[in-house]
C-alpha cells in the first residue's frame, strides 16, 4: 500500500508542507525572542528604579541599603487588613494595620441590630421606671409590713399592709400582688388566734384570712404549702368548734359534770367528717358517732383536736366553779394547742390573775408578748399584773401608754384593734384612779369612749359607766347629766339592762370609794 502512494506528486506536496511548517516555527521563535528581550529590558529598568528609590531612603520588601550596597534581609510585613500598605500608625508604629485601615477600623460602623436593640431597650427602660415608680408605695409598705411581721409587731405589720391595699385601690393598680395577699393571710391567721374565743365563726381576722385564701388561691388544691396548712387549720378549728359547740347547751344546763367530762375525754382521736368545706354547718360536719349521717368516702376527714377538747372541759369546769379543774384543763389546753397558744394563753393568764397565781401569770403573759409585742391584750394583762401584784400603778400606767402607742398605727386599718385599744384606755384610767389623778383618769375614760364611738358608733356599758363615775369624781356634773339623760332614754326604749351599773349609783350616794370600785375588778376588761 505504501509503495503504491509513493508518487512524485505526493513527495512534492509533503516537501511543501514541511517548508511551510519550518517558516511558521521560525516566525514564532523570532517573536518569542523579541518578547524575552523586551521583558528583560523592562525588568532591568524596574530594578534600576528600585535602586534609585532605596538610595533616596525608602525601604522596599526584601531589600535594605547600607552605604550604597544591596543586602538581602527578611521580607517586611504589610497591613494585616489590606495587605497592600506597610504596617504601623502614628500612634502605634507596631500596629499590624496601616494608617488608612486603622482610621477605618477606629470608626468601624455600629451593627444595626445592636442599635435597634438599644432603642428597644431604652423604650423598655422607660416602661420599667414608670412601673417601678407606680409600685414603690406598695413595695415600701409591704417591705415594712414584712419586717414588722418578722419582729412580731403584728399591728404595725397590719397597718403597713392596709396602707398598701389602700394605695392599690385608690390608684386602680390592676396587678395581682399574690405575696402581699399571702402575707396578709399569715398575719390575719395569727391575729385571729386570740379572737376565736368571742366569735367562733364570725371571727373578723379569720374571716379576712379565709376570704383572701378563697380569692387568691381557691379552696381546692392550694399549691402554697403554708397557705394550705392555714386553710386546713382554720377548717379543722371551725369543725372542732362546730362539733364541740353542740355541747354548750348541756354545759349551760348543769348536766352531770363527770359524765360530760368523760364524754369530752372519749372524743380525743375520734374522726370528724366534713362534706363541704365551703359551707360548714351541722349537716355538712359530723363525727363518727353520728347515727343519722354516715360518710360516703368523699369527705375531708380530720380528728378532734385535743386542745379544743381541753378548752371545752375548762369551760365546763368554769360553769361548775371547779377551780382546780379549770387550772388543770387550761394547762393541758396550753400544752397541746396547735397554733392557737395565744387563745389558751389569754384564758390561762386571766385565770392565773384571778386566782393570784402571779408567777404563772407572768410566764404566760410574757409568752403572749413574744407572739405579738404590740398586742393590746398583752399590755392590758401586764398592766393588770403590775397593778394587782406589785401595786405599782405608775409602771402599770406606762405599760398602757406603751401599748396604746404601739398599736396606734393599726387603729386606722383594723377596727377590732381600736376596740381592744379602748380596753387599754380603761385599764389606764384605773391606774390613774389608783394614783389619785382623777383628771387624767377622766381623760382616759373619755378616750375609751371615743375609740368605741369612732369605730362602733356606740359606747359599751363599761366605758360609759366609768366615765360617769369619773365625771362625778371630777365634779363634771354637766357630763354626768348628759350621760344620765342618754341612759334614761335607752332604758325607756330597751329595758332596765341598759341602765348604769350599781357602782355608778353607789358612788353617787357615797357608798363606795373609787379605789374600792377598781379593786372590785368590775372594770377589768380582761
Amino acid at each position: 500500500m505504501a509503495d503504491e502512494n509513493k508518487t512524485p506528486e505526493n513527495e512534492a506536496s509533503v516537501h511543501d508542507e514541511m517548508e511551510e511548517l519550518a517558516r511558521i516555527f521560525r516566525e514564532e521563535l523570532g517573536k518569542a525572542k523579541e518578547e524575552a528581550e523586551k521583558a528583560e529590558n523592562e525588568a532591568n529598568a524596574e530594578a534600576a528604579t528600585d535602586i534609585d528609590a532605596l538610595d533616596s531612603g525608602y525601604e522596599v520588601e526584601g531589600y535594605a541599603v547600607t552605604s550604597g550596597e544591596k543586602t538581602n534581609t527578611e521580607p517586611e510585613e504589610m497591613c494585616e487588613c489590606c495587605g497592600e500598605r506597610p504596617r504601623g500608625t502614628d500612634r502605634d508604629p507596631n500596629s499590624p494595620f496601616c494608617k488608612e485601615c486603622a482610621a477605618i477600623m477606629e470608626k468601624y460602623p455600629y451593627d444595626l441590630k445592636g442599635i435597634l436593640m438599644l432603642i428597644a431597650v431604652i423604650g423598655a427602660l422607660i416602661l420599667s421606671l414608670v412601673t417601678f415608680i407606680q409600685i414603690t408605695p406598695v413595695f415600701t409598705n409591704v417591705y415594712r409590713g414584712n419586717a414588722d411581721y418578722n419582729d412580731k409587731k403584728l399591728y404595725s405589720s397590719l397597718a403597713h399592709y392596709s396602707e398598701a391595699e389602700s394605695y392599690i385601690i385608690d390608684n386602680e393598680i390592676s396587678l395581682d400582688f399574690k405575696n402581699l395577699r399571702r402575707n396578709e393571710i399569715l398575719l390575719f391567721y395569727e391575729f385571729g388566734a386570740d379572737e376565736w374565743v368571742e366569735k367562733n365563726f364570725g371571727n373578723p381576722a379569720i374571716l379576712c384570712a379565709l376570704t383572701l385564701i378563697e380569692k387568691t388561691y381557691g379552696t381546692e388544691n392550694i399549691r402554697d404549702k403554708k397557705v394550705a396548712e392555714i386553710f386546713n387549720a382554720i377548717t379543722e378549728t371551725r369543725a372542732n368548734i362546730l362539733m364541740l359547740g353542740s355541747y354548750e347547751e348541756e354545759i349551760e344546763n348543769d348536766s352531770d359534770y363527770e359524765k360530760l367530762i368523760a364524754k369530752f375525754e372519749s372524743l380525743i382521736g375520734k374522726k370528724i367528717y366534713i362534706s363541704d368545706v365551703n359551707n360548714m354547718d351541722s349537716t355538712t360536719v359530723f363525727d363518727e358517732m353520728n347515727e343519722t349521717l354516715k360518710p360516703s368516702g368523699k369527705e375531708t376527714v380530720i380528728t378532734y383536736d385535743e386542745g379544743w377538747i381541753r378548752f371545752y372541759q375548762y369551760v365546763l369546769a368554769e360553769s361548775q366553779k371547779k377551780t382546780e379543774d379549770m387550772a388543770l384543763y387550761l394547762e393541758k389546753a396550753s400544752a397541746v394547742s396547735t397554733g392557737y397558744e395565744e387563745y389558751s394563753d389569754l384564758f390561762f393568764a386571766r385565770f392565773c390573775l384571778d386566782n393570784k397565781n402571779y408567777s404563772q401569770a407572768e410566764t404566760v403573759i410574757k409568752r403572749m408578748g413574744e407572739n405579738n409585742s404590740e398586742s393590746v391584750v398583752y399590755h392590758a394583762l401586764l398592766s393588770k399584773l403590775y397593778r394587782q401584784r406589785d401595786k405599782n400603778y405608775s409602771a402599770a400606767k406606762e405599760v398602757c401608754l406603751t401599748g396604746l402607742e404601739k398599736s396606734a398605727a393599726s387603729y386606722k386599718s383594723y377596727d377590732l384593734v381600736a376596740f381592744a385599744g379602748s380596753y387599754l384606755s380603761i385599764e389606764k384610767s384605773l391606774n390613774f384612779i389608783m394614783l389619785k389623778d382623777y383628771e387624767s383618769a377622766y381623760s382616759s375614760a373619755e378616750e375609751a369612749v371615743s375609740y368605741q364611738n369612732d369605730f362602733y358608733g356606740s359606747t359599751g356599758p363599761y366605758a360609759r359607766d366609768l366615765l360617769a363615775i369619773l365625771a362625778l369624781a371630777t365634779n363634771n356634773t354637766e357630763k354626768y347629766d348628759e350621760l344620765a339623760k342618754t341612759v334614761a332614754a335607752s332604758v325607756e326604749e330597751n329595758g332596765k339592762e341598759y341602765d348604769f351599773s350599781s357602782y355608778v349609783y353607789d358612788y353617787k350616794d357615797n357608798k363606795i370609794s373609787l379605789e374600792e370600785i377598781v379593786s372590785s375588778g368590775y372594770f377589768d376588761m380582761l
Binding site: D111, G114, L118, V121, S128, L129, F132, L175
Partner: protein, 186 residues
C-alpha cells in the same frame, strides 16, 4: 463548656447584644481598632467585640468598665420593677413584668468582659510604671472583672444573676422606703 457558654449567651441574647454594642462604643471612645463588631453571632465572641490588643492602660480598663457599667445600670433598672413586682410582690400573671425581669437577668448575665481583656488590664496596670494608688483603686474592679469573666466562661453568670434577682428587692428595701418617705414628706 463552649456550648454551654454559647447557649447561655443565646438565652440572654438582648443582654449579650447590648454588651457587644457597648463594648464597641467603648472601643470607639478609646480609639481602639475594631476587627468585627457583629452583635449577633454563634460563637464565643457573642456579647463581645473583636478588637486589637490594647496596650494603653486607660483604654484597656475602659473597654472592660464601660460595657459593665451600662449593662449594670440597665439591668438594675429592669430588675427594680421586674424582681420587685414578680419575685417580691408576687405579680405572676403580668407578662410585661416577666419580660422586665427577663431583661434584667439577661443584662446582668452579660456584665463582664472576656478574660483576655481582663488580663490586658492586669498587664497594663500591674507593672512597674503604674503608681501604687492607681493599683489600689483598680484592684476591686480588677477582682470583679476577673471573677466575673471566669464565671462567664462557664455560663455561671446566668445562675448568679437569677440569684441576685431574688436578693435585689431586699437590697432595695434598705433604702427605697427612706427615699419614699423623703419624697412623701416633701
Amino acid at each position: 463548656m463552649r456550648i454551654i457558654y454559647v447557649i447561655v449567651k443565646l438565652i440572654t441574647l438582648p443582654g449579650a447584644m447590648l454588651h457587644a454594642f457597648f463594648e464597641h462604643m467603648a472601643c470607639r471612645i478609646c480609639k481602639v481598632l475594631v476587627d468585627d463588631a457583629r452583635t449577633v453571632r454563634a460563637d464565643e465572641m457573642l456579647s463581645h467585640t473583636e478588637h486589637e490588643l490594647v496596650k494603653r492602660r486607660g483604654a484597656s480598663f475602659d473597654i472592660c468598665f464601660i460595657p459593665f457599667l451600662f449593662n449594670l445600670f440597665f439591668g438594675l433598672t429592669f430588675l427594680s420593677s421586674g424582681a420587685v413586682a414578680v419575685l417580691y410582690l408576687g405579680s405572676y400573671k403580668n407578662a410585661i413584668l416577666w419580660f422586665l425581669l427577663y431583661m434584667g437577668i439577661a443584662l446582668l448575665t452579660n456584665l463582664f468582659p472576656q478574660i483576655e481583656d481582663v488580663l490586658m488590664v492586669k498587664e497594663n496596670i500591674y507593672n512597674e510604671k503604674t503608681k501604687t494608688v492607681i493599683k489600689v483603686i483598680a484592684a476591686p474592679f480588677y477582682a470583679i472583672f476577673y471573677v466575673g469573666a471566669q464565671l462567664e466562661r462557664f455560663g455561671l453568670t446566668l445562675l448568679t444573676s437569677i440569684g441576685f434577682a431574688f436578693a435585689y428587692p431586699y437590697i432595695l428595701g434598705l433604702f427605697i422606703p427612706r427615699i419614699y418617705d423623703f419624697f412623701i414628706s416633701r
